[in-house]
Symmetry: C2
Subunit: 642 residues, 2 copies
């Protein structure tokens, strides 16, 4: 055993022990030291840099570290193994996460089509794409010695002429700038207003010459990834789109670890700061910069996220969420304003939150349910959101039921040795020749990009193909031998998708029996949840008339393969639809449309929640589902290995 010491920029350190030959990134992970590794340790992304401070490491040299950097001690953790006592410095992950921030290129139609579809679907369902924000131009009477009404009453008098008698509220920020704006513009101004039947709230007063676009911010706060849109609240046009890693990642990969971290002294503040100051605010600035838009002109915000994420976002104690009887502080709330949380948009912007319906079914699902449109159809539909957790909603225009299952991060490439997110170099689709066992891929990125790992849809394809070709058995164990089948010293098999020399990585891209086992448990959790929920309603899975799949797994998901491995029920393929990040499109809809917002609250309050852990049969269902495709093959009549 060697001693491994991780030191941090703030002077703290973590000590751990490792066997000779252990991978440094793995040692870090088991020691709860978070090192940024988007490619999950394939030596392909070059992000997992550490700096050797003392001792030695056995490191493969990669193109990511220059000779000069190597000289200074920089190493990739994933390309290093332990061979002596060693001390390394780990850079703060927050800066790493910032570097992972991405602003989308809106000239790509693909980026926008989900939102176009959302708008079209909602309009078809009679949901007006209108909200209560508005701009009006008003010309005030200039004051004279005979008309000495003060500025605030003068503005209200002018506004009431346009909007009938209403209670007009001016926030402090508007009162503060009012004398200057009025006088600089000869008492003719544009007002950004929110009008409700009895009230008018003046968000802003702008000069006539200012380009006054009412901005809105829609944001999906995922446990792993945060995505956001800045939109024009009048037209629905998308002004900017961005994404970033959730800075809370350093405090744990899943919601339970985040909650535990939040209970430590100062933890709630740290987690709130990580998501707001280190993730959301930099994203807002980056998006605004790219679109040449002022953050101050964002007057409304909608957040969709799971219940834990919205509690931590608001800095509210999330501990009751994980302890019986699992009570959130809120399902819906109108208590949040930008200035309360320090969001860098207009300080008076109201933050609406897609409603939670329980501790484990949150606003990401209610928002997603809205854009799945299952509530508007007589057919029985199933909505599945595959994130770090899996959540399901089943129902139609008459009723809806939801549940959550802990599927783990496998669908996003986590818990899989060569797993990665759907970025450059990820194998997103795969077929395998039954005879030669040679694979063919579709790889994310420019033509010619070499494979470096597997994203969620790729994993489904590979496991399905391995199974259909009789290379693995229903338990996920390798039953054939060949050039691409490796066995380690304990006999554990793996399938090599790309040998080191074919790969964009410094090692083989492969899938192991452990990976397959992890994935089978993930897909088993999903399928057994579907079965359990439907059985409780006396429904058979064959009665499902539509399946809407959402989440980070990507549009590349091959539904047939997902059925082949027993993840989804064996129903006709044309009934499956991939709908993308429905949490973000739901937030977009709620932001843009007051009707959609109201509809989402209605959906949430009418949705029944089923706590799977209290259903005795769930465990049996799960065990039965941990096979390819299932212990009861009669449930998958269409699936038979070639």
């Amino acid at each position: 055993m060697f001693k491994v010491t991780f030191t941090f920029e703030d002077g703290t350190l973590v000590e751990s022990y490792a066997n000779e030959g252990e991978n440094l990134l793995e040692v870090a992970r088991k020691s709860n030291v978070v090192i940024d590794a988007p490619c999950s340790g394939n030596a392909s992304c070059g992000k997992c840099r550490v700096q050797l401070k003392d001792g030695v490491l056995d490191t493969k040299k990669t193109r990511h570290i220059t000779d000069e950097e190597f000289e200074k001690g920089w190493r990739l953790a994933c390309a290093s193994t332990v061979c002596a006592d060693v001390s390394v410095m780990v850079p703060d992950i927050a800066s790493a996460f910032r570097s992972r921030m991405k602003v989308a290129d809106l000239s790509s139609k693909e980026e926008l089509q989900i939102f176009e579809k959302t708008k079209a679907d909602l309009e078809e369902a009679g949901i007006a794409l209108r909200n209560s924000l508005d701009i009006v131009e008003v010309t005030l009477d200039a004051p004279t010695l005979d008309d000495t009404m003060p500025d605030n009453e003068r503005l209200m008098r002018a506004l009431r002429r346009y909007m009938n008698l209403k209670r007009v509220r001016l926030p402090y920020a508007v009162l503060k700038k009012l004398p200057d704006v009025l006088r600089e513009n000869d008492f003719a101004v544009k007002c950004v207003l929110r009008t409700t039947p009895n009230d008018m709230f003046v968000y802003d007063v702008l000069g006539m010459k200012e380009d006054a676009v009412i901005g809105g911010l829609a944001i999906d706060i995922g446990t792993t990834t945060v995505s956001a849109l800045i939109i024009n609240m009048e037209t629905g046009e998308i002004i900017a789109k961005g994404s970033a890693g959730n800075g809370q990642i350093r405090y744990g990969a899943d919601v339970i670890n985040r909650i535990i971290e939040s209970q430590k002294p100062g933890g709630r503040q740290r987690l709130q700061k990580a998501v707001i100051e280190e993730t959301i605010n930099p994203m807002i600035h980056e998006m605004c910069r790219s679109a040449n838009f002022s953050p101050d002109r964002i007057y409304r915000m909608c957040v969709a996220s799971n219940t834990t994420m919205n509690h931590l976002f608001a800095g509210i104690n999330a501990d009751p969420l994980r302890m019986e009887p699992y009570i959130p502080a809120f399902f819906k709330t109108n208590s949040l304003f930008a200035s309360d949380l320090g969001i860098d948009i207009n300080r008076d912007a109201h933050i609406i939150v897609a409603p939670n319906i329980g501790s484990y079914v949150g606003g990401d699902i209610t928002a997603g349910t809205l854009t799945s449109m299952i509530w508007n159809k007589p057919e029985f539909s199933l909505f599945i959101d595959l994130g770090t957790n899996g959540e399901l909603v089943f129902g139609n225009s008459d009723f809806m039921m939801s549940c959550a299952c802990s599927a783990g991060p496998a669908f996003e490439g986590g818990d899989i040795s060569c797993g990665m997110r759907a970025t450059d170099g990820a194998i997103e689709a795969c077929t395998i020749d039954k005879e030669t066992m040679e694979p063919s891929f579709k790889i994310v990125g420019e033509p010619g990009t070499k494979p470096i790992g597997l994203c969620g849809s790729g994993i489904i394809d590979v496991i399905s193909e391995l199974f259909m070709c009789g290379i693995i058995n229903p338990k996920g164990k390798f039953v054939r031998e060949g050039r691409r089948i490796k066995r380690d010293q304990y006999g554990m098999g793996s399938y090599v998708l790309a040998f080191e020399e074919e790969a964009g990585s410094v090692k083989d891209v492969e899938i192991t029996e452990v990976d397959i086992d992890n994935f089978i448990r993930a897909k088993g959790a999903i399928f057994s949840a579907i079965r359990t929920m439907m059985s409780s309603l006396d429904f058979d899975v064959s009665m499902i008339e539509n399946v809407y799949v959402a989440g980070g797994i990507g549009s590349g998901i091959n539904m047939q393969n997902a059925v082949n491995i027993g993840m989804f029920p064996d129903i006709p393929l044309e009934l499956f639809h991939y709908i993308g990040n429905s949490s973000l499109s739901g937030a977009y809809a709620m932001l843009l449309s007051t009707d959609a917002e109201r509809k989402t609250y209605d959906l949430a309050s009418n949705m029944t929640y089923m706590e799977l852990s209290t259903v005795p049969s769930y465990m049996d269902e799960f065990v039965g589902a941990c096979f390819l495709p299932h212990t009861d093959t009669s449930m998958f009549p269409s699936v038979s290995p070639r």
Copy 2:
């Protein structure tokens, strides 16, 4: 001429020139260098310390500077004269002002009687001493697996049981603490509420065992002095009372200079910071400490102040106030909350502001008018507030008219060589023997305190006595000679109230012809304003049935003497009433009573404002009033020198 350099702790400096023998404090004043000098240069308060850095000063040694301090260069500016080039360091006045902060001893009945009278007067007028803040104890159903309503809805459900169906609003701060407070107190809590017919706002949620007093803050922001009360909003009890110098003093003694300063880059922020961060917040903390009260439990605040002060307090451009057509940003406003302005009380506390009626008649006057009760009487009454400006309101239960005149700081001891505020050592009353010309005093402080200067009421007495004894003529010039009459090289006379050896100061306490002239102009401004306003209504001053005098001049004011010098009209003495700081008592009333608040808004909107500068006869009236008692002695039939 010698060069005098003033340096400051922040490294900046001011260079000036002075003749040999010029007093250093005077040199500082003419150079716009603010040195704290509450006794106005009588070497009695010991506050005007500067540190000699280079050169020499001719300084009288006083008891305020120890030998050791003298060794280190400390000098009193007022006791130093220029005799060579010199450089001195001037301490920041903000710290000096903080040291001038005072928390009142509430065991003294005198401190409280004005507020007791205010309450009694209002109740007699049918104004209920009730506001919309309240505490209720609520016991929530504890959540179970069958009752999983979230915390916020659970609280609202419980509150609605007590208060019928209302819209309940929880601010962020309450939502944030809610899960913790509920669980720490077994779901039984006290709520601090504000209830209006349709709304309920939850200011706070507290444990059952917490001592839940609803605090309120009433504050009078004077140009020179800020006074405040912390009160119990349920009982009206005064929990703490304090006062402090207005930290803005360093930016000018009067409102015009403050506005000019606020127009410089960063000026608005500087002035707002000076009054909030450097004056009000330290006062709140000091008062809370003395009363063992938590600032967080102050849920409402009322500010009474002149229009410039409330604009600068809110950080709002005050420049339009001083330029035709003199338009404030607001008369009344409901836009201000504690968190907006950074007031260190509960962040959701609403700040109500006593309404302005124009640029020069502000909330201090409307609040004062409320507690003067002139609006509740059929008799014609005059309300006079003697501050840095003089403001008048005349009227009865049917009508009211107001005006403002620039009286200057003479009533507070400013512009008078031995003037000072009514603190220890101030001569507050005086008689002079006609034959011997020897004075007798009443001095503020413990028996035996030696005189060091004159406060407002003392100045009135001295000038009246000098006039009544034939020592000065109607123009304020000395016409008798004697031991106590001095003449300088130019023949300017002065009267010595206390020779250096009798005084608590290092020089004679005296009043000069220049002082008398300054004061005559101040009293002339007041009297001519009264005459002009009443003439415009076709009233003669003899028709005044009551005079209510408010302001810092103090309860010691001798009304007969004020009539003798022609400051107030010659009407029976029993018609005069001193009512103290009516701005603060008005703020107290508005805070405690929703009816009183509403009444003040009514008074303000029904009060006519008269701009004296637009009345052609005002200048003639003023010139006529600049005599003792007046050029037209028939207006003062009761006044005849002994």
